[in-house]
């Protein structure tokens, strides 16, 4: 889901940055408020950030013959609400842009939007829908984290197709092309992310229910 440094045309880079910044600011305000009012959330917040940090470093082989990575942003979105993940996801993407030349500064806005905004919000929405439909805690968490991860990669494909429509087949053709790179590859990895997120939630259910935050009511 990393759009590499310098590839997005300046107008697109600026537009996605403008879209992402309010989410990061709102997330920062929510994060500061959470830490002030409930200082005991410091450790679970750090754990949610660490989960995203380690998962997004793991490039895992997929059945399509290419590799991609989980993002780990669903867990924190379910525990603390999707807003705070805009901040934690941005930290991960900054680390990778500055130290690994993976992603970039000019593409940071677009990458933050797909990984740290769309992924967490989709995870959160799927969780609410799954609960409404009567899904159990593990099933709901699995679906939420899996589809949140998948949504991130679909968003990246949309961003690339908007910036680089196919000369012949336009936006649709380009979208199909980029989805063929990202979406199919991502299916098994999204499942892995869903399963790992279930493991973390199962651990918290057993050892520290308070850390489940917004999931507590369902445990």
């Amino acid at each position: 889901m990393h759009i590499m440094e310098g590839y997005l045309p300046p107008l697109h880079a600026a537009a996605w940055t403008a879209v992402a910044v309010p989410f990061v600011i709102a997330g920062g305000i929510t994060l500061a408020k959470t830490l002030r009012e409930r200082p005991e959330t410091r450790l679970p917040l750090a754990a949610a950030g660490a989960f995203a940090f380690v998962l997004s470093a793991l490039k895992i082989p997929s059945v399509t013959g290419s590799s991609s990575h989980p993002t780990g942003t669903g867990l924190g979105a379910l525990m603390f609400g999707p807003s705070v993940m805009a901040v934690l996801g941005t930290v991960v993407l900054l680390f990778q842009a500055l130290l690994l030349a993976h992603g970039g500064i000019t593409t940071l806005g677009a990458n933050v939007f797909s990984m740290a905004v769309v992924g967490p919000w989709v995870a959160w929405a799927v969780w609410r829908l799954a609960r409404g439909a009567g899904a159990s805690l593990p099933v709901g968490v699995f679906l939420a984290a899996m589809l949140g991860n998948f949504a991130t990669y679909c968003m990246t494909s949309v961003q690339l197709a908007l910036a680089f429509p196919d000369p012949a087949s336009g936006f649709g053709g380009a979208l199909a092309k980029f989805l063929s790179v990202f979406a199919l590859t991502q299916v098994p990895l999204a499942v892995v992310e869903g399963l790992l997120t279930v493991l973390m939630v199962t651990f918290m259910t057993r050892y520290s229910r308070a850390d489940l935050g917004r999931l507590k009511g369902a445990a």
């Binding site: 450790l43 380690v54 092309k177 980029f178 050892y207």
Partner: protein
């Protein structure tokens, strides 16, 4: 506990399966998308501020990212398990009434 083991096995199977049946170098999807753009004649207009000098340093930094995340996550899991254990067995956790703080 048994479910946890089953989930870990499922994850292992999903990750290992492609390595066994697909003959490929498993190039990154991000790099493949970059290649599509390059093929279409699109050039980056901005270079990374700093790049790892080579593959070794890059893998060092990726490993560092994973290690920092896994280390902190392991610390969290240890703290929570320890706290829970001292709650369940207060006689091992010092004076009665002093446990589970």
């Amino acid at each position: 506990m048994r479910n946890t083991l089953l989930i870990l096995l499922a994850i292992l199977a999903i990750v290992v399966f492609p390595l066994l049946v697909v003959d490929s170098e498993f190039e990154g999807a991000d790099a493949q998308a970059e290649a599509i753009l390059a093929e279409g004649g699109h050039e980056p207009w901005f270079e990374p501020l700093w790049e790892p000098p080579g593959g070794e340093t890059e893998s060092l930094l990726f490993a560092l990212q994973a290690a920092l995340g896994a280390g902190l996550l392991g610390y969290y899991i240890g703290v929570r398990r320890g706290r829970s254990a001292s709650r369940e067995e207060p006689h091992l956790g010092g004076a009665p009434g002093n446990a589970g703080h």
